[in-house]
Symmetry: D2
Subunit: 322 residues, 4 copies
Amino acid sequence: MRKYRIVIVGTGRIAAVHARSVHRSPSLELAGFVDTVAASSLPSHWGVPCFPTLGEAAGAVVPDAIVIASPTDTHVSYLALAVDLGLPALCEKPVARDRRSIEVAMDIVSRSGLPVILGFHRRFDPMRREVQNRIAAGGIGKTEHILQLSRDVSLPDRRVSAHQGGIVADMVVHDLDELLWLVGRQPDRVHARLDRNVDAGLVEIGDHDTVSLQLEWNDGPVAHVSATRRAVHGFEQRLEVFGSAGRLVCDDPRISCVRLDSAQGTYLDRRHAGFGERYRDAYQAEIDHLADLLRCGGDPFCSLEDGLNAFDLVERVVDAAQ
Amino acid sequence: MRKYRIVIVGTGRIAAVHARSVHRSPSLELAGFVDTVAASSLPSHWGVPCFPTLGEAAGAVVPDAIVIASPTDTHVSYLALAVDLGLPALCEKPVARDRRSIEVAMDIVSRSGLPVILGFHRRFDPMRREVQNRIAAGGIGKTEHILQLSRDVSLPDRRVSAHQGGIVADMVVHDLDELLWLVGRQPDRVHARLDRNVDAGLVEIGDHDTVSLQLEWNDGPVAHVSATRRAVHGFEQRLEVFGSAGRLVCDDPRISCVRLDSAQGTYLDRRHAGFGERYRDAYQAEIDHLADLLRCGGDPFCSLEDGLNAFDLVERVVDAAQ
Amino acid sequence: MRKYRIVIVGTGRIAAVHARSVHRSPSLELAGFVDTVAASSLPSHWGVPCFPTLGEAAGAVVPDAIVIASPTDTHVSYLALAVDLGLPALCEKPVARDRRSIEVAMDIVSRSGLPVILGFHRRFDPMRREVQNRIAAGGIGKTEHILQLSRDVSLPDRRVSAHQGGIVADMVVHDLDELLWLVGRQPDRVHARLDRNVDAGLVEIGDHDTVSLQLEWNDGPVAHVSATRRAVHGFEQRLEVFGSAGRLVCDDPRISCVRLDSAQGTYLDRRHAGFGERYRDAYQAEIDHLADLLRCGGDPFCSLEDGLNAFDLVERVVDAAQ
Amino acid sequence: MRKYRIVIVGTGRIAAVHARSVHRSPSLELAGFVDTVAASSLPSHWGVPCFPTLGEAAGAVVPDAIVIASPTDTHVSYLALAVDLGLPALCEKPVARDRRSIEVAMDIVSRSGLPVILGFHRRFDPMRREVQNRIAAGGIGKTEHILQLSRDVSLPDRRVSAHQGGIVADMVVHDLDELLWLVGRQPDRVHARLDRNVDAGLVEIGDHDTVSLQLEWNDGPVAHVSATRRAVHGFEQRLEVFGSAGRLVCDDPRISCVRLDSAQGTYLDRRHAGFGERYRDAYQAEIDHLADLLRCGGDPFCSLEDGLNAFDLVERVVDAAQ
C-alpha cells in the first residue's frame, strides 16, 4: 500500500497532535516539519527533519500534502503556498482573523481545485457525526430545540487569552460551527449575553469567561448555548437535539468505566482533562479524512467556506452582546 | 392524636388528587366536599357529604381548613369566604387571571393573619426542594446558569387550552415560579420566543405549543428555558443549576428500575405518564404542609405573594415574545 | 364503598408498617390491635383500641380480617384462631420455626377454605413482580442464569440475631423464596458457603454474616447468591436474570434523582436506608392484596405452601454449608 | 529516539492485532513476519517481508524482540528459539496444552534471564488494571466477594471450537487468570457446573457453552463466575469486587455516548462487537509493555508462571465439573 508523505507546518502543541495522528495512519508517512523560528523537540521525537520554510521542505522531502498548524496569522500565506506547490492541505481553525483574508484564501483554493480541509475537530468526532447523520436521516423528525453545554476546566492564562480573539471566537466558535452544521444555515436572530463570572479582570483585555445565547431560526429550531471557561466538576461538552419524532443526546464519554461505591458515596468514572483528550479520535479522523482524499479524491467534509460561516456568526454574537 | 377536618372545594381531577393526599395524612380527616354545580362521584367514593356552598359545609361538618380546587375564577371569592369563616386554606394555582384580583386576595388574607398556602406543586417536590436547599446552603457557590427543560407528552384538547390562558400562564409558569424561588428575584431582562411546532391551528385561540426563553439577572445567573407540549419520548422535567463551586442536576425519576437488555437494544426503566404521577409526592407534601401549619402554626412555604410574582413574570414573557 | 375492618396482632415495628398501609388503603379501616403483653404507643397513634386477646378484639370490633405481626412462635396459634373465627389473614413470615408446625397450619387453613396470605414482601414489590411477569411471559426465553446480590447495611445486635434463626433463615430466605418463585421448583443441587467476615464473634451464637451460594436446576438455570449483613456503601438488593432471548436487570431504586457534580467528584442519588424504606410499596401491595381478596375473593398470591418450600430450601442450604 | 525492531510470528487474526499495535508504538518498528505455511496478506499490507522461518527472519532483519502469535502447539518451540537467538518475546496465551510443556518453557526462559511477556490481554486492560491497583492499595479493605460475568455474542464454529480445548481453557481461562491476579493464590475449593444451553450438539466434541463456578478461598473471598458463549444483548464482561470498605464495579465501556429517546423507548449507546474491539487498548498496552521492557528492562507484568497457574486452575475446574 502506497504511503502518502505529510509535512506539518508548526511544531507546537497542536502540531504534536497531528504528528501522532499521521504516525498512526497506515497510509500516511510523516516526512518532516516546518518551523520558521525555533522548532520544538517534536521533529527529533519522530526522527524526521525540520525545515525553516515550506519551500525547502517541499524540495527536500517531496510531500503529498501538508498540515497547517502554525500561528493563525500565517494560515492564509501557507494556504497560498500549498496551492502554488499543488499540495492538498489540512488547515487548523480559524482560517484568519478577518473576513477579507478568509475570502482571499477561499478564492485561491477554489480556483486551484485542490482539496483543503478545515480542522473544526468537533465535526470529525465520531459521536457528533453520529448525531448529525441521524438527524440528516430524519431520525428525530424536524429539529425544534438544540442545547449546547460547553464547560472548560479553567481559565487560560490571560496573556494567552489576549491572542485568541476572545471566548466567542476561540471557544464558542465550536458550538456555533456545530449549530451551522446541524441546521444548515445562519440563524435569523441572535440574542447574546457575555459575563465575567470567573475573572473580573478579563475586562482589561476585553474578554469574558461565560457566554449565554439564544439563537433562533425562522421555521426552524431555537438553540440555547451555555459556555463557561471554568467548571469545577471538570471538562464537559454536551449536546441535545430535540425533534418532532425523538431526541438525541450526546453525553461526554468517560475515561474509565470503573466505579467505586464507598461509605462516602458513589464515585463515577472519570472525565477527560480537556479537549485534546476528549477529541483524540476526532483529530485522528481529521487526518484519516486527509488520507481518504489523497487516496480517493472527493470533497472535504469541512471546508474554508464553513470557516467563513462560523466567522460571520461569531461576529453576530459579539455584536448582539453589546 | 387530634385529626383536623378538611373540606375540599371542587370535585374535579385536582380535587381527587387532594382528597387522596388528605386521606393518607395521619393527622387530617376528609370531612366533605363543596360543589356548586354538579358534583362528580368523588364524595361518594370517599364516603363523605357534598354541599352546594362552602357556608353550608362549614355549618354542617365544622372544618379546620379548606382546600380550594375549584375553577380559577372562583379562587378569590373562596379565599374571602375562608377568611370570613376563619379557616386556613390551601389554594390551587393560579390565584386569579388578573393582577388586581390577586392583590385583593393578598390584602384580605394578609389582614386576617390566617395561613394560606399556594399550590405550586413543584415547590413541594422533595427533589426540587433538595436542589433549592443545597443552593441556599452554598453547596454550589454562586449560581451562574440554570437550565429548565419541560416537555409534556401531548397537546391538551384545544377547547381545554382555550380556558387555560396559554402555554406560558398554564405550563411554563411552573418553570418561571421555580426560577423566582431559586434566584429570589425577578430577572432583569427577558428574551422570549413562542412557536407553534405541533399545531399551527393554535393560532385560532392565540396559543402556542413551544416556548424558548433566555432570562438574565444582573450580577446573577442566566436561565435557559425550553418547554414544549409534545415530546414523543414522554414526560420530562429536568433542572440543572451550574454554580461557581459545583453543579446540581435533577433528572426525572423513573417508575421502575427494571431494565431489559435484548437483541433489539437496551430498554431503560419507564417514565411517568404526566405531572400527576410525577408529582404525587409533591401533592402529598402540599397537604402535609397544611397539616403542619394547623398543628404547629408558622408561615406557608409558598404564598399568594409568590403567585403575584409568577403572574408578573408570565406577563413579561408574553410581552417579550411579541 | 364498603370499608373492611382490620385488626392487627402485634404492636411492634412491622405492625406499624402494616398499620400505615391499612390506613392508606381506601377500602380498609384499621379497627384495632391485639397485644398480649405490653402494647406500644401504636394504637393510640392511630386512635384505635388495643385488646389483650384476639378473641376480645373479634367480639368488640368485629373485624373482617386480621394481620398477624406478632412474634414468630405465635403465628400458628393465631392462624388457628383466625380460622376458628372465620377470618381471612395476612401472616408475617416465617410461618413457624419447624416444618411440622408449618404443615399443621397449612392443614388447618386448607380445610377452612379461608384465604391466608404469607408476607414475603419481595413477592409484592412492583419491580420484582415486573421481572417475574416478563419472565413468565417468555420475555427473555429460557432462563439460564440468575444473580441475587443482597447487601444489608450493618449487623443487627447479636442478641436480636440470636432469636432470628441465623442469616439464612432470617435474611437469605427472601432470596431463596424469590428463586423458588422465579424458577417454580426446588433446585437439584445446593452448594453453600457461610462466612464470618464482619464479626468473628458470631460463632458464639452459631450465626454467620456472609452467604455464598450456587444453586443448580437440572434442565434449568444456575443461580448465584451473594449476601452480606454489612456493605459500607449502603443497602442493596439487585437481581439479574439472564435468558436465551434477553436479560432483565432490577437495580435498586434511589431516594432522589438529584446529582451533585463537584470538584471532589460526582455524587449519585442516595440509596434507601434499609428494607423498610426500600419495600414500602411492597408492604402496601401486601395490604392491597388482602383488600382485593376481601372484595373479590380469589387465591392468595403468596401462601403458606410457599412458606414451606422456602423453609425446606433454607434447611438444605444450612446443611450444605456444613 | 531509537526504534526497536519487532518480528511477528504468525500472520493470522491475532497477528494482525499485534501488527497494528506495533505500528502505533512510537518506539517500535515492524520489521517482518514469519509464517511457515501460507502467509496471509498481512505482510504486504504493512509493506514488510515475510520469512518461512524465524531463523531466516533473524538473519535478515535483525529484530530486537519477537511476538509469538502462531498456533498454540508451536509456542514452546518459538520460545526456545527466541532464547537461542537472545530475543525477548511477547507470547500469546496459552503457553501450551499440557503442564509439562509449560514447565519446560518456563525452565528455558528462566535460565536465559530474558524477559518473556504472556499475553493475557485482560491484565493489560487499563480499567481492569485500575481495579487491581485500587484493591492492592487497600481501597476496598479486605476482598470478600468477586463477581465475573462474561458473555460472548455467539458460538464459534464447532470445527474451530474443537481445536480450542473447550470453553474453560479457551474463554473462562481469562476469568480464572484474573481471579488469580486479584486474589494472588489458587482457590481452596472449586465448585463447577458446565452446561450446553445453546448447542446440545457440542456433546460431539466434548465441549460446553455455559459455565457456572463458585470458587472459595480460605480466609479469603468467594468468587462467582457466570460465562456463556451467547448473549443476544451483545458482548459483555463485567467485574464487581466487594470488600469490607467498599466495592469496585467495572462495567463495559460503550462505543458511543449517543442516546436516542424515541416513542419506542430509550436506546442506550452501543456495545462492542467482541473482545477484539473491547480490548483494543489492552492489546496496545501489551505491546507498549514490551517496548518498556526493551527500553528500560524490568520484569514482565504477566509471565509464563501466570500461564502455569491459570492452566492448573482450568484443570481443576474441568475436573470439578465431572
